[in-house]
Symmetry: C2
Subunit: 338 residues, 2 copies
């Protein structure tokens, strides 16, 4: 089926292309009479202007690029859910890409988004210094970093206060008063380092022995790590608290603890980070820190739209999310409802 174009409409309505175009974008520049005449034809064919052509001609494309690390990842799911809820109602189309943790892919993706003339970009970058950000900076396209801060005052971002999150957990662990606390890092992303550092800083290490476990990047790594901790740190006999860098890896560890019949939280209590949805539904509902991921996505989307509307790529938007400790059964014997 050949696409019907503005020219076809013009011919049938007996006017020029320009006038049809005006009806589409600036209707009040056209007399009521001709406007109605044209609208009639437009509706007859349920014509919609070709967005590529509009884009080429310099109009906004109503497309927003969203770049995350991984699609099938609970964290990004909630994030994109939040983003989508806003962009959807504002009638933007989402161009979603995943880097699959390949930095080079991030650059390539952003470049392709720019070429696609998206009106703005939301990105959860590898780091605030990645090449993609540099490219973004000089492209002139509005963009906002998510889950990442930047010292550059011109850069906009929405991020959780990970330091405070780590502190909250340390405080909780102090109150639990176990013999030892093991911290399990899950990535070398800046946000993770902040969490862990703050945790270590505020942990009452005169009473609780602090142990740093090797990094566990995937669910399976978490699962496997448990046996190691049993062997090396006797978590099956010494009362232990586990702080795992994110909920999903924590889930892997819980799964294994469960199999080994190590009671949670009596013998080992477990704490995650993120408050992804499964955290409350899983085997042992998980104590964690919420960074309101969904809200984070909404805020970022809202701010981006605002930048686009008011052409404020000069003004920057910065928002720090306040983390919240959520205590569930993995550290508390009292079952608590959500």
């Amino acid at each position: 089926m050949k696409q019907i174009t503005i020219a076809d409409i013009a011919k049938e309505a007996g006017v020029s292309k320009a006038t049809v175009s005006r009806v589409l974008s600036k209707p009040n520049l056209v007399s009521e009479k001709t406007r109605e005449k044209i609208l009639l034809v437009i509706n007859k064919y349920s014509f919609t202007p070709n967005t590529l052509a509009q884009g080429l001609a310099g109009m906004p494309t109503k497309n927003i690029g969203v770049m995350v690390d991984e699609l099938a990842n609970d964290y990004y799911i909630e994030l994109t859910g939040g983003i989508d809820s806003i962009l959807f109602q504002e009638n933007y189309t989402v161009q979603l890409m995943s880097t699959r943790w390949i930095p080079e892919r991030e650059l390539q993706g952003v470049r392709s988004m720019i070429l696609n003339r998206v009106d703005g970009i939301l990105i959860s970058p590898v780091s605030a210094e990645s090449d993609a950000i540099t490219l973004l900076k000089k492209s002139g396209i509005p963009y906002i970093l998510i889950n990442c801060t930047s010292s550059d005052p011109e850069v906009s971002y929405v991020c959780c206060d990970n330091h405070e999150g780590g502190r909250l957990i340390a405080e909780h662990v102090n109150s639990l008063g176990r013999e030892q606390a093991i911290v399990v890092p899950v990535s070398d992303h800046k946000t993770l380092i902040e969490r862990v550092d703050a945790f270590c800083k505020y942990l009452d290490s005169t009473h609780i022995r602090l142990i740093k476990a090797p990094i566990a990047r995937h669910y399976q790594d978490g699962y496997n790590l448990v046996s190691l901790l049993v062997d090396q740190n006797a978590i099956d006999t010494k009362k232990t608290t586990l702080f795992v860098g994110n909920d999903y890896i924590a889930m892997g560890m819980i799964s294994r603890l469960f199999e080994l019949n190590i009671p949670i939280p009596e013998q080992v209590s477990v704490i995650g980070f993120d408050d992804i949805r499964i955290a409350s539904l899983c085997r042992v509902p998980l104590t964690t820190v919420s960074q309101s991921i969904h809200t984070m996505g909404r805020l970022a989307a809202l701010a981006l739209i605002n930048m686009i509307r008011h052409n404020q790529d000069n003004l920057s938007y910065r928002h720090i999310i306040d983390p919240q400790l959520i205590i569930r059964e993995s550290t508390s014997l009292v079952p608590c409802k959500d």
Copy 2:
């Protein structure tokens, strides 16, 4: 930053735009000498052609439209994960949209995808007769339905054999030999009706009383439904099997059963459908039917790319996924590993 164009490259290299264009798409039509000369300039500015313009001029855009009902939905997450894994490596950009269950939005979204000149569309439609499909049909753009069948021989799809899935569950329930079986529908989508119908058909209703519960569309509906079933069907005293149309709603019911201290599976055994990831991680690991969602996404993406490559919008691709019963603790006292 002004976009650098093919004209700039041409001027600096001292050739015509056409030659530059050829270097980009059909390099062997250009002499080695000039090609290298041009490539040098291209690399110098790390120039990439504007995709909108390419699209307008009739080239493939390397964009694929993907339309699902909801982004933050476990089912679609795994589906898009599968789709992305293929499209990613084939260097396609995904244009992901969600209908949020609004049929009108489906049509509107597909139209916008067509206007964006995507090379193909993957859609999990409301129904095989939705307006969006009609539009797709006459657009000439390759497309594949996911989780939906069609009697029209020209329409391509990938779908699970839901009838067989229902039968598998009935068989399992028969073997469980409970006093009553309650089936909880979760939507009026065709696939759901097939599951439920097959279940009812194959259930040994001379020995097990079959009860149809009202529809529960959301997690919370499932949660709330439990009290009703306690009141009306005494599931807390009569040994009962629950077949819930999908895993997520089943999770809602389990959550409530747990609170009411109704033992699973001793008093009430629960069966879901889909085998979403949480199914194995949740409070009581859930017996369910796997429809290999991730694979479904991969297959559909693969087939679509194939259609695009070979211009086979005439040939149709149809694939039925074989469902598999996965028995976990929610119906079996023997804990089983995944």
